[in-house]
């Protein structure tokens, strides 16, 4: 036992040494941050969006939402045990999918619009065909040993999942088997985002780290630290060269992938609530971040300043999403409503 302990101490010392070297390498290229680069950029001024629609229909807390690729349909998941697919232009509900397990935490729309996936405390990712006359279960992906926190389709035949068992997984929907397992986090994985070219993805976890992975190889390519609590939300910047994270430590951060470090953080001394979700506007100029304080705050990505707020929910904002055409933003809340703003 003592020998084992000594070995672990030796490995930990090695880790400390390697981490110091990485920090030195990062400092060596740190010759300016995002604020500095944007000093000459015009301010966006106060961003005042109007609430355009209230989507009422769920009977309990909403935990997740995801826009369809057509920027018109949207799926939401609630612990009332239902997924609802909405036509956001009319406000009508198109499809209701009853769930076997009401403890849902994530939902995703496939790019084709044919499939949706959901999962939660059942540790499974269930995929439904929503184009059939009535929603039909296509697959039950059952191998995670912890809750399903997030899922994203690559296509109708592949899906990525993130789990409380600290792993992420790429599944083949034709066989229902795991293709690649991504292991490196030491805390529950809470969120994931796929790069626009689908070659890599990023994950945020309760170990306060964000990681960049190669989808096909399964390897973790880069690790981003700095947060001091669970990372609940993560997104790619539209150019794919940077990522934004949101955490329980009340901060959002932008990390540049090529500089391998944080280039700006979004924090306000008046904001003491954790970040639950985030989404970017189409150019990337604005970050919409949902917080535990019942609001969705709007940040100027370049200057790090808070420029607006979406107020109206009566409970925590649990999910936020901007559709591909960038024409609006949707917020979902524990108050059981979704709101559309622009």
């Amino acid at each position: 036992m003592a020998a084992e302990k000594a070995e672990i101490e030796k490995l930990k010392k090695e880790c400390d040494g390697l981490r110091k070297q990485i920090e030195t390498a990062r400092k060596a290229v740190n010759d300016g941050d995002m604020k500095g680069a944007s000093s000459g950029v015009e301010s966006v001024g106060r961003v005042q969006l109007k609430k355009r629609k209230d989507l009422k229909g769920h009977l309990a807390k909403i935990y997740a939402m995801h826009w369809a690729a057509d920027s018109r349909q949207m799926v939401s998941a609630s612990q009332d045990g239902k997924l609802l697919i909405w036509d956001t232009h009319t406000g009508n509900k198109l499809v209701a999918v009853p769930l076997k397990s009401a403890w849902v935490m994530s939902v995703a729309f496939a790019p084709s619009g044919n499939l949706v996936a959901s999962g939660g405390l059942d540790n499974m990712c269930t995929v439904y065909n929503v184009k059939a006359a009535s929603p039909k279960t296509l697959r039950e992906l059952d191998a995670h040993t912890g809750y399903l926190s997030c899922s994203r389709f690559l296509s109708d035949s592949e899906i990525l999942t993130a789990s409380g068992d600290t792993t992420c997984c790429l599944w083949d929907l034709e066989t229902g088997k795991q293709k690649v397992i991504f292991t490196n986090h030491i805390g529950d994985c809470m969120s994931l985002a796929l790069s626009p070219d689908q070659n890599c993805f990023i994950s945020g976890a309760c170990d306060s780290l964000a990681k960049l992975w190669d989808v096909r190889e399964g390897a973790c390519k880069q690790t981003f630290s700095g947060h001091t609590s669970d990372i609940n939300a993560i997104a790619f910047f539209p150019s794919s060269n940077a990522i934004i994270t949101g955490s329980d430590d009340t901060c959002c951060k932008m990390y540049d992938l090529r500089a391998d470090q944080e280039v700006l953080h979004y924090q306000d001394s008046g904001l003491n609530a954790g970040v639950t979700s985030l989404a970017l506007s189409s150019s990337g100029r604005l970050i919409f971040a949902g917080y535990d304080d019942f609001n969705c705050h709007i940040w100027d990505t370049l200057k790090g300043e808070r420029v607006g707020v979406l107020s109206g929910h009566d409970n925590r904002v649990s999910c936020t999403g901007v559709p591909e055409d960038g024409l609006g933003v949707c917020t979902g809340s524990w108050d059981s409503f979704l709101k559309l703003w622009n």
């Binding site: 084992e4 672990i8 490995l11 090695e14 880790c15 390697l18 981490r19 990485i22 390498a25 290229v29 300016g32 941050d33 995002m34 680069a37 944007s38 950029v41 961003v47 355009r52 629609k53 956001t88 232009h89 191998a143 040993t145 068992d165 600290t166 792993t167 034709e174 066989t175 795991q178 397992i181 292991t183 490196n184 030491i186 390897a219 973790c220 390519k221 880069q222 690790t223 910047f237 539209p238 150019s239 060269n241 940077a242 540049d256 500089a259 391998d260 470090q261 280039v263 506007s281 189409s282 150019s283 990337g284 100029r285 604005l286 370049l302 901007v322 960038g326 024409l327 559309l340 622009n342």
Partner: protein
């Protein structure tokens, strides 16, 4: 001639007795879309010892240390330029005309 009970039993033995048959269902019996998923070996974090976790971290750091890093000033300028090139088409920044707004509340009267 009287048939013995033994012989009778043999001739009329229960032919539905299937205990000797292999009752395992073949994988190929399932239609392709609904085959039971075979479990891949999963690295369960709870099974990893402290030493395994430390080793995993060392190996990961050894990979990451090799990365070639760009100057942050150049990276930030690129992000800024990307946004500037797109921001004029960004509805949430620039606003949207009422008649082009797909989310606007419909209804109301038009007085002719």
């Amino acid at each position: 001639m009287q048939l013995s009970m033994d012989l009778l039993m043999k001739c009329f033995a229960n032919s539905t007795d299937t205990a000797h048959l292999d009752t395992r269902v073949l994988h190929s019996d399932y239609p392709a879309w609904n085959r039971p998923a075979t479990e891949m070996p999963v690295i369960n974090i709870d099974d990893l010892t402290d030493k395994d976790k430390a080793l995993m971290e060392v190996n990961q750091l050894k990979t990451e240390i090799k990365l070639e890093r760009w100057k942050t000033s150049i990276c930030c300028e690129e992000i800024r330029d990307y946004i500037q090139a797109q921001v004029d088409e960004d509805t949430l920044v620039k606003g949207i005309a009422e008649d082009k707004n797909p989310f606007k509340e419909k209804g109301g009267c038009i007085i002719c």
